[in-house]
């Protein structure tokens, strides 16, 4: 971490806003907290950081800190492009107060602002969308679950009379198609409202949060060791990524390091998770493109990987790998060989299936130019993961904010300037369609296999966890934990309370950033292509709804 860069940034911000800033605090090695005097300047400073300092808004966190002598506190977290720095603009908001919306300058803020309005009852002044988001229309609009004076077990009666206002598209021959929340396949719930002209989709509106389970509120009442299990269940297929991000946030608060071997085991499991999920998504793409044979072969490979997971972690979807301070179980020499043999076999078979798929012109044609994302949309909406990379936005948390054992591995590092330029040219060629996302997933599977080999070849002899982490947590300290799941960057912000309780736990998975892109990606496609576009984006409902 370059402290010179940190200083430069601090100077640039102070130059502009000296009078509006009360303090600038560096924290947890790569966070710079910018504390504002009042909330009138939020919009100016955020816009400056966003456009002049080339930073993306990656999360907005609100917390109710009235009990510890403050008000509501809003934190806008920005990430600098290709630099390991998080800029965090912090402002206090009055109870029942409002804060200026930045959604018209920074589009990616609009969902965070609506979420904060539902959960805390603070009004984003100027946000054009006043409809409820997390708590559906049936809920009383005076209910704000993340306030400290709201009881976790408060069963609020629901009013089933209220209706949700969808955007209506008017005109001759425009038809509305409502889909969901119960879908045709084995899939999570969400509502899609299509407006079509003939077969062409001219507008799509998504309504999510059907699986809202109150995870953030629940964590505040849980023991910190149990909250790890909860974080695994944010999204079942991202269990390692989410629990790793949570554990890393807590470990940062304790300021203690965890053993290298534990970090290596975490990385191996994270890459196993990426592999089995990408195989599953590729199988899904093949199903939705109408090619059952390809799907059945890929599903065999996914099943092999899940059986491998079970031999390593005791759970087919890798539950129970991470604990605070390290990992729960070791990888023995025998298990190491099992991993290497299985991924070798799966790689070989995968190669055969892939060659076959690429030769089927009907399959490739179906993916080409389907569900195309524009580069501008992807960057305005601050998308992450494959959804960003498929249009050539080169972000990957493993590379941008090296964590755990990744700094010691070869993650997209280019040894020569020629290779670097070659990579940059290749980025420009990505079209943002379903085929680009298919190719990227294939590439990531082979990268993961290499990373697993690299890590296992140099497995250090070390203990499995650092038990002191839990004893060393001071109240009201906070930290960001992050991880690259197979869907993209997942960010967890943890603030500790008294007696090792959690004061505030904010989760933002990759799906929250990527969901809005589907509304753009399907435009001008036909309705029948929607499942294919949806699968190629691979979005989680549960990870979004929390």
């Amino acid at each position: 971490m370059n402290s010179e860069n940190q200083n430069n940034l601090t100077v640039k911000i102070l130059d502009q806003f000296q009078s509006k800033i009360s303090e600038i605090l560096p924290c947890n090695s790569n966070e710079i907290h910018i504390l504002l005097n009042d909330n009138n300047s939020i919009s100016d400073i955020c816009t400056f950081i966003h456009s002049n300092l080339d930073a993306r808004l990656v999360m907005m966190v609100c917390s109710d800190e009235r009990r510890i002598g403050k008000k509501f506190v809003l934190r806008y977290i920005f990430e600098r492009k290709n630099e390991d720095i998080f800029l965090i603009v912090t402002a206090d908001i009055q109870e029942n107060g409002s804060f200026p919306s930045i959604a018209s300058q920074i589009s990616s803020a609009y969902l965070y602002e609506r979420e904060i309005r539902d959960m805390f009852g603070l009004l984003p002044k100027g946000n054009p969308d006043v409809r409820p988001l997390v708590l559906h229309e049936h809920w009383d609009n005076q209910i704000h679950p993340l306030r400290k004076d709201f009881d976790l077990n408060n069963k609020v009666p629901l009013n089933t009379e209220n209706d949700y206002q969808f955007l209506t598209v008017e005109g001759n021959e425009v038809t509305q198609i409502p889909v969901g929340p119960v879908h045709a396949g084995i899939i999570e719930p969400g509502h899609f409202r299509f407006s079509t002209m003939g077969e062409i989709i001219i507008n799509l509106e998504t309504k999510l949060f059907y699986t809202h389970k109150g995870i953030e509120k629940l964590a505040e009442k849980m023991k910190i060791e149990d909250a790890v299990l909860l974080s695994e269940r944010i999204a079942g297929d991202e269990s390692v990524a989410n629990s790793m991000a949570f554990c890393q946030a807590v470990e940062k608060i304790s300021e203690l390091k965890i053993p290298k071997r534990a970090e290596q085991i975490r990385v191996v499991c994270a890459e196993l998770e990426r592999t089995y999920n990408h195989l599953g998504t590729l199988a899904g793409i093949s199903t939705d493109a109408g090619f059952a044979f390809g799907a059945s072969r890929l599903n065999i490979l996914k099943e092999k990987m899940m059986q491998l997971n079970e031999k390593i972690a005791g759970s087919r979807i890798l539950f129970g790998v991470n604990i605070i301070g390290g990992v729960r179980s070791d990888i023995s020499d025998e298990q190491k060989n099992t991993i290497l043999n299985t991924i070798g076999e799966v790689s070989y078979d995968f190669q055969q299936v892939l060659e076959m798929l690429r030769q089927k012109s009907s399959f490739v044609d179906r993916l080409k130019n389907t569900g195309t994302i524009q580069r501008k949309d992807a960057s305005d909406l601050a998308t992450v993961g494959i959804t960003a990379r498929c249009v050539g936005i080169d972000i990957d948390t493993r590379k941008d904010h090296p964590y755990s054992f990744y700094p010691f591995l070869n993650v997209n590092k280019f040894k020569t300037p020629y290779k670097q330029i070659q990579h940059e040219v290749e980025l420009q060629k990505r079209d943002g369609d379903a085929l680009a996302r298919f190719d990227l997933r294939v590439e990531e599977i082979s990268d993961s296999v290499l990373l697993i080999h690299e890590t296992l070849d140099d497995l250090r002899a070390d203990s499995l966890s650092n038990h002191k982490v839990i004893e060393n947590l001071r109240p009201y300290r906070h930290a960001l934990g992050y991880c690259e799941s197979h869907r993209g960057q997942t960010l967890h912000w943890v603030m500790m309370g008294e007696n090792n309780s959690i004061y505030r736990y904010k989760v933002r998975t990759a799906s929250f950033c990527n969901w809005p892109t589907i509304e753009q990606a399907v435009l001008n496609d036909i309705v029948a292509d929607f499942p294919l576009v949806n699968k190629s984006l691979d979005l989680s409902y549960s990870g979004n709804d929390l």
């Binding site: 809202h212 072969r297 790689s347």
Partner: protein, 268 residues
């Protein structure tokens, strides 16, 4: 794609030829590896101190001391995290066998003194006459409508796996259908989030009789780790009547198949 140490699988042919990958008996436990965290069993009656500790360390409060002073574990709540068996290996063991599905919610509660409430009838016995039973009741087929009432997607991964060539439940005449109006069985996952309450009720109402409801996973059985909060209802039996409970977090494909067999058994 660069292949790192590719290994050709010698046991079977090329993945693209038509060799058979499907397991003959999907209920066999031979394939379950020793590390799998399946079912909690009592090795011995826990000491008084251990009982108190167990009640405290279990994240889903699956251990309970009842009025009769009996100590029990509720498989419907257990998320198989293994905290209890790590702490008290002398009293608690976590087997690599999965907890069996039951028709009655209370049967998922197992008492520490050794009286087993869950039958240990071999799967094969039920498996062999499955096909006949389906034929008798539904004329060769059983149609399932799956509904996610707020699950984490873990159960969906396992339910999807039932359709892969390894488990391939379609060979038994069991298929997943797109509408509740075509369905004999409603397969429900998740703690029933309150935002899904209305949709779940309406889906149930849309089914033709006889309606069989199967609760899948710890969340659907009891709320699981998400419990009973402002946003959840703490188990789908609070909203629709449940015929079969399949415990597990998530239940493995074999456990799901076993649960579906049991669901059929009830209505005959």
């Amino acid at each position: 794609m660069k292949i790192h140490n590719p290994i050709k699988n010698n046991h079977k042919g090329d993945i693209l030829d038509n060799s058979i990958y499907t397991q003959k008996d999907p209920l066999s436990e031979i394939l379950i590896p020793q590390y799998y965290r399946g079912r909690i069993v009592f090795r011995a009656e826990p000491s008084q101190h251990a009982k108190e500790m167990l009640e405290d360390i279990c994240p889903t409060k699956a251990f309970e001391k009842s009025q009769m002073r009996q100590f029990s574990v509720d498989h419907g709540k257990c998320i198989t995290c293994g905290k209890c068996s790590d702490k008290f290996p002398e009293f608690i063991n976590i087997e690599n066998k999965f907890a069996r599905s039951v028709k009655n919610r209370d049967s998922l509660i197992e008492i520490s003194t050794g009286e087993k409430t869950i039958s240990d009838k071999p799967y094969e016995e039920i498996g062999h006459d499955l096909k006949n039973k389906i034929q008798k009741l539904f004329g060769r087929s059983l149609a399932i409508r799956q509904i996610d009432a707020g699950s984490c997607n873990g159960c969906e991964i396992e339910i999807t796996a039932l359709n892969n060539p390894i488990y391939d439940i379609e060979r038994f005449g069991i298929s997943f259908v797109a509408s509740p109006r075509h369905a004999d069985v409603l397969l429900v996952t998740g703690p029933a989030s309150r935002n899904m309450e209305i949709a779940l009720k309406r889906t149930y109402d849309a089914m033709p009789d006889p309606k069989i409801v199967v609760a899948v996973g710890a969340c659907a059985c009891s709320g699981g780790i998400f419990g009973d909060t402002y946003a959840t209802t703490g188990g789908i039996d609070k909203i629709v009547p449940v015929d079969v409970f399949i415990p597990g977090c998530p239940p493995r494909p074999q456990a799901l198949i076993y649960g579906l067999f049991l669901a059929l058994n009830k209505k005959i």
